[in-house]
């Protein structure tokens, strides 16, 4: 089973292959990157091509606080991964909860941004090309955040009920890999939407 950690493998067994969980998650990330690439390419291709407004500069505000929250959640989940590896379960649940909270702040921030755009500015996916590409790219990322949060919350529930321990370190790290990916994608989306596209 791949759930055995690498450290437990004794020296007399040199036939050691990479963990299937990590390999599969890496493969998934490669595939997801291709999906994001297409949406980013569409976004960049359509920058400034809308025949009518509103333009990004008129209605977009840069979500600095959100971004800081999401990016620091990458740091807290890394601390959590380290804690579970060293079997410090209290630290683990602490850092894991922090990650969940930071992720929730991010997704609530996006929700508020969208609410303002839709109900205050009347700017929807139908409005123009900018709306089309903006909502689909940011929405695609937000979908990934939501999926990540659901999985993080599951782990949190299992942790609080005492079902997670050091044996699960690798699985938790595989999930961490996904979360790091979601954060890294945000760096790209943020740059394209709020800096280049604005």
């Amino acid at each position: 089973m791949s759930t055995l950690s690498v450290a437990q493998m004794p020296q007399e067994q040199p036939w050691q292959l990479p963990s299937r969980g990590r390999v599969a998650m890496t493969a998934l990330i490669i595939g997801e990157s291709a999906i994001f690439t297409i949406f980013v390419v569409a976004y960049v291709f359509y920058i400034g091509k809308s025949p009518f407004g509103p333009t990004p500069r008129q209605i977009l505000e840069i979500p600095i606080f959100n971004t800081v929250c999401l990016l620091s959640s990458s740091f807290t989940i890394w601390l959590a991964e380290r804690s579970i590896e060293k079997n410090r379960m209290r630290d683990f649940s602490l850092w894991w909860s922090a990650t969940v909270v930071l992720g929730l702040i991010f997704i609530l921030g996006t929700a508020r941004e969208w609410q303002r755009l839709i109900y205050h500015d009347g700017f929807t996916i139908r409005t123009n090309l900018f709306g089309t590409t903006f909502y689909s790219l940011v929405g695609l990322h937000a979908t990934h955040v939501v999926v990540g949060l659901v999985m993080l919350l599951l782990v949190l529930i299992f942790t609080l009920t005492g079902h997670v321990n050091q044996r699960h370190a690798e699985r938790v790290q595989v999930l961490g890999l996904y979360w790091h990916f979601v954060d890294a994608v945000w760096v790209v989306v943020f740059t394209v939407v709020y800096i280049v596209g604005r």
């Binding site: 292959l17 493969a27 595939g31 999906i35 297409i38 359509y46 025949p51 996916i125």
Partner: protein, 564 residues
């Protein structure tokens, strides 16, 4: 042969024979809930064979319509639906499941593993793919929204914008097309991830990457390629669905959207897709040609490197489908050159197959017949590909029957031929029975004759200017006799495939027992019983060379003495 057990760990048959008194319902339940890679592989192949027959029937209808000028067998609308469904079916519901079915069944056996890395993901992926296929065909009754009349998608399998916009494709048929491809696309993605994880993490002891048989190697390359080529299609389909349902403007030229970007997104998927389909076919040939030539494969490292090179280069050739769109001459030059470059690693492979056969003691059993035809047909298909990669020639031939002839030469002449070869070759392992050689030879020769009548002739029609996707033609164009020959060839191929299907069913009940290793082969799947037990190998095998079974059969002259 039946009683022969090789002195290898894993060939020990300690499985209790499955109780024969299971009811039909119990057996059905077994198949539906299974997570066994072998059962799922069989399900994939049966599913693909079903759609091979369906897509083939559609092709025969198309050819009957085009056999005579001004024919009225099909109306124009029906004709559009049939060729859309034929293309979509053959690529997504026949080609992909067939390829991944082979991989599912064979990869764990060939690398000495117990199962795939994620058996439940495997089952999920299959059922998702199957759901996608049936969703597509449901459009025949639900395409207009279940008012009692239905229609199938009629936007062609490449579905260029703006034809797919709500204004030009009302009703739900285009939605069925997009949604079914999204569903089966995610199924494919799951399987690709699974195959990669299996090959990287589940190989048996001693099987380093350079001792792995070539079929798993090519499936590894293909799965990697799938990760980055199926996903752009999924992304583009998501955009299309957003356009159609939420009123967005991705491909809406009225609002500044671009129809050309759909072409780019589609062919970024579409061209590598050809290699996703053809590389596994190469993998099948890589297993069969050495065994039936009684020689180890020539240039194993070159084969691996060439496969990786093909996958890499194939990512940068997509716009050769779009020379007539009017790109800059710089872009045209780039895609001409990169397309020509694919010919280099492909040529290496053809030379390697020929060198494997050269001086070998060739046995022309049915699998080898198909593989031999494949080598020459694939060479020809590659050459017409190189011809069309030259932009000015493509301007002349674009959207003509020459293009149709070229890609059917690849898809049928290379892929379908090798899939048939693979089925004849591994059928004894899967069922424990040999397929009938007599029917196999009938199948081969009829299919070969039909294939060449149809697709060789199409080249001439293309050069004479017959455009693709037309439902009929005038009698004075000089295409009459040629079209007749094409149609007769199509029907002969249909008959051959029916013989094959009959052979597949009958051999299951009447075929002679196969035993462990009917072809005297060298890879690990032939060390376990036919059909293999659920756990594949009773004891995990240990390998020391690329041909572990050769080492066991020839302890005086094992391969590992010569391999590095």
């Amino acid at each position: 042969m039946a009683d022969q057990t090789l002195p290898i760990p894993g060939s020990l048959d300690v499985v209790s024979p499955q109780s024969a008194d299971e009811t039909f319902l119990e057996r059905l339940h077994d198949w539906v809930v299974t997570v066994d890679h072998k059962k799922l592989g069989i399900l994939y192949v049966l599913y693909a064979t079903l759609f091979l027959l369906v897509g083939g029937a559609e092709a025969v209808c198309i050819r009957i319509q085009l056999a005579f000028p001004n024919n009225h067998f099909l109306g124009p609308a029906t004709f559009n639906r049939l060729f859309t469904m034929h293309g979509t079916t053959m690529v997504f519901l026949m080609g992909m499941p067939m390829v991944f079915g082979f991989a599912n069944y064979l990869v764990p056996l060939m690398i000495g593993a117990r199962d795939m890395a994620f058996p439940r993901l495997n089952a999920f992926s299959f059922w998702l793919t199957a759901f996608g296929g049936f969703l597509l065909y449901f459009s025949f009754i639900g395409g207009f929204g279940l008012y009692g009349v239905g229609s199938a998608p009629d936007v062609t399998w490449w579905a260029y914008a703006p034809l797919t916009a709500r204004a030009f494709s009302p009703g739900h048929s285009t939605d069925y097309w997009a949604l079914s491809l999204i569903a089966s696309g995610f199924g494919t993605l799951g399987t690709a991830i699974n195959i990669i994880a299996t090959i990287v993490s589940m190989r048996c002891k001693g099987m380093t990457l350079l001792r792995m048989p070539l079929f798993p190697w090519l499936m590894f390359v293909v799965s990697g390629l799938t990760l980055i080529t199926i996903t752009p299609l999924t992304a583009a389909q998501i955009m299309l669905v957003i356009d159609r349902y939420l009123g967005a403007h991705f491909f809406d030229t009225m609002a500044g959207g671009s129809a050309v970007i759909w072409m780019h997104f589609f062919w970024i998927f579409g061209h590598p897709e050809v290699y996703v389909l053809v590389l596994p076919a190469f993998g099948i040939a890589n297993e069969i040609i050495p065994v039936f030539s009684r020689k180890a494969i020539f240039g194993y490292p070159a084969m691996v490197a060439a496969s990786a090179a093909i996958a890499f280069v194939s990512l940068s050739v997509w716009a050769h489908h779009m020379f007539t769109v009017g790109m800059t001459s710089g872009a045209n030059t780039f895609f001409v050159l990169s397309t020509g470059l694919v010919g280099v690693p492909t040529g290496i492979k053809i030379f390697n197959w020929l060198a494997t056969m050269w001086g070998g003691k060739i046995r022309f059993a049915t699998p080898m017949l198909f593989c031999t035809a494949f080598v020459f047909q694939f060479l020809f298909a590659g050459l017409t590909g190189i011809i069309q990669s030259v932009a000015p020639v493509d301007w002349q031939l674009h959207n003509s029957y020459f293009v149709i002839a070229h890609f059917h030469y690849v898809l049928v002449g290379a892929i379908v031929f090798n899939v048939f070869a693979g089925i004849y070759y591994w059928y004894p392992k899967v069922t424990g029975r040999m397929m009938s050689e007599t029917l196999g030879k009938w199948h081969f020769w009829l299919f070969l004759i039909g294939f060449h009548m149809t697709f060789d002739t199409m080249h001439f029609l293309g050069i004479l200017g017959m455009p693709r996707s037309i439902y009929t033609f005038e009698a004075d164009r000089g295409w009459n006799n040629l079209n007749m020959i094409v149609s007769i060839g199509g029907i002969i191929q249909g008959i051959a495939v029916l013989i094959f299907a009959y052979n597949m069913v009958m051999s299951y009940y009447r075929g002679p027992r196969a035993g462990v290793d009917p072809w005297d082969a060298w890879t690990l799947e032939w060390t376990t019983t036919s059909p293999p037990p659920e756990y594949n190998f009773a004891i995990e095998p240990v390998v020391r060379s690329r041909r572990p079974l050769w080492d066991l059969k020839h302890p005086d002259d094992p391969d590992w003495k010569y391999e590095q």
